[in-house]
């Protein structure tokens, strides 16, 4: 009995199949791709990837493939395609600059999901790490959730039992950038009561499994659990620090929930900008600084949602003494930090070098501080790439840099 050959087309949408045929190989994206900035690996570029996958589909499904090719995709071909596919931080700049509007960010995601289903699977560090951890702990990190607030929740912050405003840091904040979560709760508590989910109820949003490993089967259970837990706390506004969580919660959860969510998910910067505008957010300390803001890709080019580009700038604009200068590449075309998409685990040296490029660009603005608002950005920049090999970290240390890196909420919490 022969095994049924892997179906490269099953589960791709019409849009994605059309996109595979849309690429003109104009090479525009290569000029913007952070991977291409730091490597010469042209196989790990959007046109090469699209061409390869289109070829897989054609070989196995079209007339041309049946007549003029073996009709099969070899394991080696799949393996090298997989290497190319995971040499990507899913920053989505390629889609933003694409001259024919290919939604690459989503396309890579879907194709990763396909590869996860195939014989080659997702890269081992992602399979063994985040995915196994999720099944065990309901978070991509290898620890029980129960103790997570102990890392960063200050003793002097009081949580309401139930409140209209609920805060969700996202596991990336807890384990990678706890400073972000602390800053956020300090700002929230300065204005009024808020609540959080019980730590062991506060599961992962699903993002790392979906994008990193391409595992989708966990979502239904996850969403049902979370929506119920949030509703039980009486939360109306679900404020999220991690922009990747926000994208998933706001735009993907409703699909799995099957109807509109009983609460409004929003980014912490959006709420703070609103409060600052209304004069609710009061700062006691003064500051005189030039800052630059790095738009995280999850905010500037989200998978699904609307870009959040103005809110952080409006927020900073309300504080006298802060002068904002933008980098050459900002907003929808902001540079990649190299921290997301499973890159840190799979290609840590590439990830670190991409972070370096962003750091150098921020330095060119002459700002005193670079602010951002995303756990992988903060982690990859501020702590100079935890997972990077020594050779790269060594180079980082040798920079003579007056540039400080901080998270926007942590930075503002210092002014309370």
């Amino acid at each position: 009995m022969t095994e049924k050959p892997f179906d490269f087309m099953e589960g791709l949408t019409k849009k994605e199949l059309i996109e595979l045929d849309s690429c003109t190989r104009c090479n525009e994206c290569l000029a913007w791709c952070p991977i291409q900035d730091v490597t010469d690996d042209r196989d790990a570029s959007p046109p090469a990837r699209i061409h390869a996958y289109k070829d897989f589909v054609e070989r196995t499904h079209t007339l041309k493939g049946k007549l003029f090719s073996s009709g099969k995709v070899t394991a080696e071909e799949l393996k090298s395609f997989k290497d190319s596919l995971w040499k990507c931080a899913l920053c989505g700049t390629c889609g933003e600059v694409c001259t024919v509007g290919i939604d690459t960010k989503k396309l890579w995601w879907s194709v990763r999901r396909k590869l996860k289903e195939s014989e080659v699977g997702c890269p081992e560090p992602l399979e063994k790490g985040p995915l196994q951890n999720y099944h065990k702990f309901r978070s991509p990190f290898p620890f029980p959730l129960g103790g997570k607030y102990k890392i960063w929740l200050p003793d002097d912050i009081e949580l309401a039992d139930k409140a209209e405003i609920g805060y969700y840091e996202g596991c990336g904040c807890t384990w990678d950038s706890p400073q972000m979560a602390e800053g956020a709760v300090r700002l929230l508590s300065s204005v009024g009561p808020f609540t959080m989910l019980d730590p062991d109820q506060s599961w992962c949003c699903g993002f790392p499994q979906l994008t990193g490993s391409g595992e989708w089967s966990i979502m239904a259970e996850l969403v049902n659990h979370m929506v119920k837990a949030i509703a039980d706390k009486g939360i109306k506004q679900f404020v999220i620090s991690c922009p990747m969580c926000l994208d998933i919660v706001k735009y993907l959860w409703p699909y799995f929930y099957g109807e509109e969510l009983p609460f409004e998910p929003l980014a912490i910067v959006e709420l703070l900008a609103e409060w600052a505008e209304e004069g609710k957010l009061k700062f006691t300390k003064q500051i005189e600084e030039t800052v630059t803001y790095h738009d995280p890709c999850a905010m500037a080019r989200p998978f699904m949602g609307k870009p959040i580009i103005d809110a952080p700038r409006e927020l900073l604009g309300t504080i006298p003494g802060i002068k904002l200068v933008d980098m050459d590449r900002h907003g929808k075309l902001s540079r990649c930090c190299g921290g997301a998409g499973g890159m840190r685990a799979v290609n840590s040296d590439v990830s670190a070098n991409i972070a370096k490029e962003l750091f150098l660009e921020a330095k060119r603005t002459g700002a005193d501080t670079m602010l951002t608002n995303c756990p992988p950005c903060y982690l990859n920049l501020a702590t100079r790439t935890h997972a990077a090999p020594n050779s790269v970290v060594e180079e980082w240390r040798n920079y003579d840099d007056p540039l400080k890196i901080n998270d926007i909420t942590q930075y503002l919490a210092a002014l309370l």
Binding site: G147, K148, G183, A382, H386
Partner: protein, 85 residues
């Protein structure tokens, strides 16, 4: 940004558990000696003792809260590498 290598002592078993949970990246593993811990946060550069907000370790925002809490109880600060035996 401030990367530190501060020695932590006098923590409870519960706090140790949280610390272990916190520092698991290959480059910020805790070093243990004589019942104390050395924090290797980030790339392990030695902090001069105050951060760019002029905060000392007890109040340093770059340090996770759980560490600050321990440091506030702690009398002595030692920075840097493990002392020579």
């Amino acid at each position: 940004m401030q990367l530190c290598k501060v020695h932590i002592e006098g923590f409870t078993a519960d706090e140790k558990e949280v610390l272990d949970m916190m520092f698991f990246h290959p480059y910020d593993k805790l070093e243990e000696y004589d019942g104390k811990l050395i924090m290797n946060y980030g790339s392990g550069e030695v902090c001069p003792g105050t951060n760019d907000f002029k905060e000392d370790c007890r109040n340093c925002r770059y340090v996770p809260f759980v560490v600050r809490k321990i440091l506030r109880r702690q009398e002595n600060f030692i920075f840097g590498e493990k002392p020579e035996a």
